[in-house]
C-alpha cells in the first residue's frame, strides 16, 4: 500500500527535537566549556535551529527522499526551533557540613522553546487526505536538569573534570493527537547523564557525555497512531573537540550518536483516509493497489480499516557529525554557527495490516491480525514510517545558530 507509505514519509519529518542533551560547545570565555566547572552565577543562552528536511532514514538505514515518487522533487518539511536556556551554577551546601556536596558546585538548567514547522504544499496536500493540518507552531516541551560537578584533576597539560546530572522533560509542548506535525512530544523522559570536560595545553577542549534516556509512554499517539505509544529508552553519546585560535575565535568538531534500546511499540494505529469509500479508478493506478482488487467487477468502491496493533519497529539510531565556529564578543557573548550532518541512521517503520471491506467498520471480532476479519474480503499490509521525535530520523543536515549571553560577565 504505497499510498499510505507516501503519507507517512511526510509525517516522518516532524520537528527534529533538540533535547537538553544538546551538543556541547563553548559557553563563553574564559575557559568555560559546556561541562567545565564555571563560576557561580546565572547564564542565559538562546539557540535557533533551522532545518529543511527532505530525507529520512528507513529501517534499513537507507536514505529516503521525502514523498518520492508520489510527490515531485523538492518537497520538504521546514522546521525552526528557538530554545531558551537558563543555567544556574552555585553551591547550596557551601560552608555547611554536608560531605562532598559542600565542596562540589551544583547546577540547574531550564530549557524551553518555541517551534515552527511547515510542510511544503505537495506533502501538505497528501496530509490533508488523512485529515492532517499542514504545519504546527507552539511551545516546545520543558527540560529541567540538575547535577553537580566532580573535582578537577590535572595531569601535566591535561585538566579534567566530570559532571553528573539528570534531565527531566516535562511534555508541556504543543501537541495535538490529530495533527500531522507536533512541536511537543506528549511523553515524559528522565535522562541520567555522565559528562566530562578536558582541556589540553590550554587550547584544545574536549567535552564528552554518555546518557541513558528513559522514555515514558505516550497514551495519545499522534496522527492516527503512527507515533509510538510505548517508547524505547535511548542511549545518547557525544564528543566535541574545540580548538582555540585566539581568545575570541574558536572552532569545533563533534560527533553524536543515539540508539534506542529495543523496539518502539505502536498500540493505537488508526491512520486512514478521511473520505471513504474509495473509488478504484481514482486510486488504483496512482497508488499501486493490487490489480485483483482494482479489477474486481463486484465493487465500485471499498473501505479500508487498519488494525490497531500492537506493532513494533526495529528501533531507531542516528549518528551525526558537526562543525562550527564561535566568536566571543565583549567577554559576555558567544555567537556560534554550527552545521550538523547525519551520516547514518535508522528510522522507525512498521507493517500495518489493513482490512479491505465492502462496508465501513468492517473488521469483525478477529482483531488479532490472525486472519481476515469477518466482514472483510481482503487484507493489505502497508509499511508506515513512524512519526515524531521517538521514531523519525532525519537524514538532512541542519544549521544551528547559537547566542550565549552572560548577564553578569567576568
Amino acid at each position: 500500500m504505497r499510498w499510505l507509505q507516501t503519507l507517512s514519509l511526510a509525517l516522518g519529518l516532524t520537528l527534529v527535537a533538540y533535547p537538553a542533551l544538546a551538543q556541547a560547545g563553548v559557553l563563553f570565555t574564559p575557559h568555560l566549556d559546556e561541562y567545565s566547572v564555571k563560576p557561580n552565577g546565572t547564564y542565559t543562552e538562546g539557540t535557533l535551529i533551522l532545518s529543511q528536511i527532505n530525507e529520512v532514514f528507513d529501517r534499513d538505514g537507507g536514505r529516503v527522499e521525502l514523498g518520492r515518487p508520489f510527490v515531485p522533487a523538492g518537497a520538504s518539511t521546514d522546521t525552526a526551533l528557538a530554545l531558551f536556556k537558563v543555567l544556574w551554577v552555585g553551591n547550596v551546601f557551601r560552608d555547611t557540613g554536608v560531605p562532598y556536596l559542600k565542596d562540589h558546585d551544583q547546577f540547574c538548567r531550564l530549557i524551553g522553546g518555541f517551534g515552527y514547522q511547515q510542510n511544503t504544499s505537495q506533502v501538505a496536500e497528501r496530509g490533508r487526505q488523512f485529515g492532517a493540518q499542514a504545519g504546527s507552531n507552539g511551545l516546545s516541551d520543558l527540560f529541567a536538569l540538575c547535577g553537580l560537578y566532580t573535582s578537577e584533576h590535572r595531569y601535566g597539560p591535561l585538566k579534567f573534570n566530570g559532571l553528573l546530572s539528570a534531565t527531566l522533560k516535562e511534555p508541556i509542548g504543543q501537541y495535538d493527537p490529530d495533527a500531522m506535525l507536533n512541536v511537543g512530544t506528549n511523553y515524559r523522559t528522565i535522562t541520567p547523564q555522565l559528562a566530562f570536560n578536558a582541556n589540553l595545553y590550554g587550547r584544545l577542549s574536549i567535552d564528552g557525555t554518555l546518557a541513558y534516556q528513559i522514555n515514558g509512554d505516550n497514551d495519545k499517539p499522534a496522527f492516527g497512531g503512527t507515533s509510538p505509544t510505548r517508547i524505547a529508552d535511548w542511549i545518547n553519546a557525544e564528543v566535541n573537540f574545540t580548538w582555540k585560535f585566539s581568545e575570541r575565535w574558536y572552532a569545533d568538531l563533534g560527533y553524536s550518536w543515539h540508539k534506542s534500546v529495543g523496539p518502539n511499540y505502536y498500540d493505537q494505529v488508526s491512520i486512514n483516509f478521511k473520505d471513504q469509500p474509495l473509488a478504484p479508478e481514482t486510486l488504483c493506478a496512482a497508488l499501486g493497489i493490487g490489480s485483483t482488487l482494482c479489477n474486481s467487477p463486484l465493487l465500485d468502491s471499498f473501505y479500508l480499516q487498519p488494525r490497531s496493533g500492537p506493532y513494533q519497529d526495529n528501533g531507531v539510531q542516528a549518528s551525526l557529525v558537526s562543525a562550527g565556529i564561535y566568536y566571543v564578543y565583549r567577554t559576555s557573548t558567544v555567537l556560534q554557527a554550527r552545521v550538523v550532518q547525519p551520516i547514518s541512521g535508522r528510522g522507525s517503520q512498521i507493517d500495518v495490516v489493513y482490512d479491505v471491506c465492502a462496508v465501513s467498520n468492517c473488521p469483525g471480532p478477529d482483531r488479532n491480525n490472525t486472519g481476515v476479519g469477518d466482514n472483510a474480503f481482503a487484507q493489505e499490509v502497508a509499511t508506515l514510517f513512524g512519526v515524531g521525535e521517538a521514531a523519525a530520523t532525519s537524514a538532512s543536515p541542519y544549521l544551528e545558530l547559537r547566542f550565549v549571553y552572560l548577564f553578569w560577565a567576568p
Binding site: 570565555t29 574564559p30 563560576p39 552565577g41 567576568p410
Partner: protein
C-alpha cells in the same frame, strides 16, 4: 506511577531548592547563610566595605602561636576566602601555624556583582589592621608586619591599598599571582554592566593602571614576587602578547609555566604545591623582624633627612618617583630647592622600616599667603569616570591624596599637575597640600559617585519617554558596579 514520573517527583524538589540563590532566599526566611568563619571565638572579623557584613574567612585558633610573620591571603574576583583553603593546607603542612595564616572574603563572591579595586581597598585595610591588632594582643608584643599573598584582582587591590594607605612598611613580602598589573583583555573598553568599574580599572592602558604604576612599580621596603603563566595559553586572562602583564619592574618575576613547561591555569596557579614551593621559598628568604625592635623614623634637620637610628639607611627618590629597594641607600639625604623627595628609612638588622614620607626643599621658599586647595570638577554624581584636577593656592606646595577613606599623610600618593587624578568609582577623595615649610592646607574632602546604578536610574524607560520624570536615584552605591 510510571518510573519517569516517580523520578521526576524526586527531582523537582531539588530543582526548586537550587534555583533561587541561597544567599537571597535564606535571609528572606530569617535564616543565616552558612559561611566560612574559621576564626577563634575572641576574634571579630571586620565588616566588608562592600557588603556591610562581617567578612568570612579563616585565621588563627586558640592553640597555635605566632612564630613567623603572618600571611594574609587576598583572593580575586567572584570568589571568596575559601578559595585559599588548599593553599592554607599546604602552608600548614610546611610548618606554618594557624595563627600565621589568614584570609578574608572582602567581596560579593559571585559573578552577579563584581568586586573592584577601589571599593575593596577599605576592606583590606580593615583586614590587615584586625590581624595585626589581634595577634599583637595575643602575643603581647607588637606585630608590625605581615606577608601578603594575593591572586588576580587581589594583586592590584593590594598594590592600590599599599599606595593609598602608605602601608609599604607594614608589608614585609608581597606575592602577587596572576595579577593584572598591566591590564587584562577581559576588561577591554567594550566590557559592560556589572564589571564596569573593574573594566575601567584594569583595561590595558587605562588611566587607573597608569596611576597605579606611576613613579615606580615596586616602591617601599616591601619585597615583591610576581608569579604568573607567561606562556600565553594556560591563563586565559593573559594571552599573547600580554603574557607578561602580571610582571612588575623591580620585582622578582617568575613566569612559572613558561619556565617550567607547566600548564597551570589562572585558578590553579596559587593553589598547586609546585607553584607554592617558590612562593614559600621567597617568603622564607628574609629573616623575621626582631620582635621587640622599633622601626626607624625619618628626621628632618633643616634641608637634610636622616633616620633616628644610626644603622638605618634612607631610601629616597625625587620628583614623583617612589623609592624602592633598588635605589642606592644613604645615611643622609639632602633636600633640593623646588623638588619633592620621597623617602623611607629601613633598618636591615631589625627588618623594620618607616612609613614613606615626602618633603619639599625649603631653601629660598617664600610663603604665599593662606594655603588652600580646590578641585575641578567638584564632587558629585557622574555617569562616567572623571579627570579631577587639584590646585593649591601656593604653587610651591605639593599635593597628596587618598581615595581609600583614610586621611592623607605626606607619604600618600603624590598628585602631579600633568596627570589629572582619574576617578572611576564611587569613592571619597581626600587631599591636602603641604608647603616646603611643612604647613598643611585644610583637607579637601569630596565624594564622587560614579556607578552603574546612577546610569540605570538616569535612563529608565519612563525617563526616556518623559525627561521630566524625577530620577529615582538616591546614591545607593551598594553594589559597586
Amino acid at each position: 506511577m510510571s518510573r519517569s514520573r516517580f523520578v521526576a517527583l524526586l527531582l523537582l524538589p531539588l530543582l526548586a531548592a537550587c534555583l533561587p540563590a541561597r544567599e537571597t532566599l535564606l535571609p528572606r526566611l530569617g535564616m543565616t547563610v552558612p559561611g566560612l568563619h574559621d576564626f577563634p571565638a575572641d576574634f571579630r572579623p571586620p565588616l566588608s566595605a562592600e557588603t556591610g557584613q562581617p567578612m568570612p574567612g579563616f585565621g588563627s585558633d586558640q592553640a597555635s602561636g605566632v612564630y613567623r610573620t603572618p600571611v594574609i591571603f587576598v583572593h580575586g574576583n567572584t570568589v571568596s576566602a575559601r578559595y585559599w583553603l588548599p593553599t592554607r593546607d599546604y602552608f600548614l603542612h610546611q610548618g606554618y601555624s594557624r595563627d600565621e595564616l589568614w584570609a578574608f572574603g572582602y567581596g560579593w563572591d559571585n559573578v552577579r556583582y563584581f568586586d573592584s579595586n577601589e571599593l575593596s581597598v577599605p576592606s583590606l585595610e580593615r583586614s590587615v589592621n584586625s590581624v595585626i591588632n589581634y595577634l599583637s594582643k595575643k602575643r603581647g608584643v607588637p606585630v608590625r608586619q605581615v606577608d601578603i599573598v594575593a591572586h588576580s584582582l587581589g594583586v592590584t587591590v593590594v598594590r592600590q591599598w599599599l599606595k593609598q594607605t602608605n602601608s609599604y612598611h607594614r608589608v614585609r613580602n608581597f606575592v602577587g599571582i596572576a595579577g593584572a598589573n598591566h591590564g587584562t583583555w577581559t576588561a577591554s573598553s567594550d566590557s559592560r554592566g556589572q564589571q564596569r568599574l573593574t573594566a575601567w580599572e584594569l583595561a590595558p592602558g587605562s588611566p587607573w593602571l597608569a596611576q597605579l604604576n606611576r613613579g615606580g612599580e615596586t616602591p617601599g621596603p616591601t619585597r615583591y614576587f610576581m608569579l604568573y603563566d607567561g606562556g600565553g595559553w594556560a591563563d586565559v586572562f593573559y594571552p599573547k602578547p600580554s603574557q607578561d602583564s602580571p610582571a612588575l619592574e623591580g620585582a622578582r618575576n617568575l613566569a612559572y609555566n613558561r619556565e617550567h613547561g607547566a600548564w597551570f591555569d589562572h585558578m590553579d596557579l596559587p593553589r598547586r604545591p609546585e607553584t607554592l614551593q617558590p612562593v614559600l621559598a621567597f617568603l622564607s628568604e628574609v629573616h623575621e623582624p626582631l620582635p621587640r625592635a622599633s622601626p626607624p623614623q625619618l628626621l628632618r634637620e633643616g634641608e637634610q633627612l636622616r633616620s633616628d637610628q644610626p644603622d638605618a639607611r634612607l631610601y629616597c627618590a625625587d620628583d614623583g618617583l617612589e623609592p624602592g629597594a633598588a635605589v642606592v641607600p644613604a645615611q643622609v639625604w639632602p633636600l633640593k630647592p623646588g623638588r619633592v623627595s620621597s623617602c623611607y628609612a629601613a633598618h636591615a638588622g631589625s627588618g623594620l622600616a618607616s612609613p614613606l614620607a615626602r618633603y619639599a626643599g625649603a631653601e629660598g621658599y617664600q610663603p604665599a599667603g593662606e594655603l588652600s586647595l580646590s578641585a575641578s570638577p567638584a564632587g558629585g554624581v557622574y555617569e562616567q569616570p572623571q579627570q579631577v584636577r587639584l590646585t593649591a593656592s601656593d604653587p610651591a606646595a605639593f599635593i597628596v591624596y587618598t581615595t581609600s577613606g583614610t586621611s592623607p599623610d605626606s607619604g600618600s600618593p603624590l598628585y602631579r599637575p600633568e596627570h589629572p587624578l582619574y576617578v572611576a568609582a564611587p569613592l571619597r577623595l581626600q587631599a591636602v597640600a603641604i608647603t616646603p615649610d611643612g604647613r598643611r592646607s585644610p583637607p579637601l574632602v569630596l565624594d564622587y559617585d560614579i556607578s552603574l546604578e546612577k546610569v540605570e536610574a538616569a535612563h529608565t524607560l519612563e525617563r526616556q519617554l518623559d525627561p521630566e520624570v524625577p530620577e529615582p536615584y538616591a546614591g545607593r552605591r551598594k553594589k559597586g558596579r
